[in-house]
Symmetry: C2
Amino acid sequence: MSDPHRDAREFDLIERIRRRVHSRDDVVLGIGDDAALLQVPAGRWLVVAADTLNAGVHFPEDTAPADVGWKSLAVNLSDLAAMGAEPAWCTLSLSLPGGDAHWVDGFLDGFLELAHAHRVALVGGDTTRGPLSISVTVHGFVAPNRALRREAACVGDDVWVSGTLGDAAGALAQWRAGSLRDAFLRARLDRPTPRLALGAALADVANACIDVSDGLLADLAHVARASGVGARVELDRLPASDALRAAFDDATRHAWQATGGDDYELCFTAASQMREEIERIARETGTPVARIGRIEAGEGVRAVDALGAPWESAQVGYQHFA
Amino acid sequence: MSDPHRDAREFDLIERIRRRVHSRDDVVLGIGDDAALLQVPAGRWLVVAADTLNAGVHFPEDTAPADVGWKSLAVNLSDLAAMGAEPAWCTLSLSLPGGDAHWVDGFLDGFLELAHAHRVALVGGDTTRGPLSISVTVHGFVAPNRALRREAACVGDDVWVSGTLGDAAGALAQWRAGSLRDAFLRARLDRPTPRLALGAALADVANACIDVSDGLLADLAHVARASGVGARVELDRLPASDALRAAFDDATRHAWQATGGDDYELCFTAASQMREEIERIARETGTPVARIGRIEAGEGVRAVDALGAPWESAQVGYQHFA
């Protein structure tokens, strides 16, 4: 069902992409054949994650192409970070309404900026005609039995989170309201930071780990369920950026920190004896971390306010983007 | 930008998928964490391909869900076949307009039927809301330096193709015209056969190989360009199904065999001393093959008719689906 004209454009686009890609020594064959040929280091496990971003669902339609490129790789690298894995390669499936070379150039600016920063080689994929959609699959390595898994939280563990929470949700609220738009918050929405160095360093220290993409409480609930435990989170301990504090009242801010998505921070659990080690790792990797709660016996995730009272998410009503 | 209701549906869908998936011994961790953990056999190269199908572009909107599922995996496995690789794992990124569990069940019927037939484990991916689109990444193995690459065609090589050509294009023409629709041709469009056994067996015998997705002449031109050679193809030697012969006049049939897409047959080149060995492999793998031309010095692909006269594709005008 191919259209020869589309195909000509597709090959142009692929060539356009191929010219800008960096390779790695472990890439035997990258873009340009039916498949890529890759060498996994002996004695390492392969770690694979795949995530798709659709226009109007996962990012506002007015997002700059470079930011779409960055984010489409970042959300995938964040999954590798949450496993404690070292990234290596990715494939990119790009659906475009038209063969817009200018848009693709901008997209690649962001995508490859992040790829090169983490030595990730783009080794294959395809470009197709269709509604704007970006599917990325990332590949990395981890030492056997060293991956951070969701199911490994233990009763008594501290619960930690990296960076700050709620910034992306705040940016989205401003975008939707058409109110004053804070550039820092918008950058947190458009250019999340995959916490790769932190994740890799935590592999020997943390028990369970997940990246916060659907909202802290929802993602921590995945950890709790997989581990057969419960969790208690103190709202006042959730890290907030100055920009978020300045832009919203406390109740609104708390809602976004607890349930807003798109943070792409790491939420992890570790024994309390590990506190000093974790603080050291945070300093060495330049990644702020905050201790926000504890793993408990039972099930479910409880968020409590400063007085220990249960927090009701219904205190604030807001709509997500999609 | 997550919607909690969407997420609930997404997790339902993922759980629905997870329950039906078969695993393999080399899958340490499959669906359900941030990423999959996989073990590549020592001394093998990893082979990775990614292809996307969009509704209305890569398949008619009225295609049965099970056929969409089959085809979305088949076109990817076809890429592995063209490398001579043995498939192992795949990820699936599924964008759906609604969280339609019934559609997903049908999709999985076809997807998993083909996956199980080739012992391919679905190990991860995501489901998102958006226009119907399926992105699959497949992973396989090949012995070092044994992969079939496009760039390895040699002057004097025979050019071969598996199966029959033009069936999918014929089905599409019937579908578009609303004329009598032949079930065999439509099945060739909807359920292409990835030639995995043939590809693997050819690894020691063939030189270059590609799968025919964009049309024989276009794909053979990729081989010729990558190898720095030309090719000559005899139209009358292109294999045709009885159904295609019955449904169309010779000129139309030739056009589809030469330039119609979606065949997912293997086009490969091999030294002429290999003819008997190739016929033996064809018998043993139950895959018909036909010798259709020759690699020549020079550049470009020439198609000639029975009298050796150049074939003009403009003899027949027709439109592809997209």
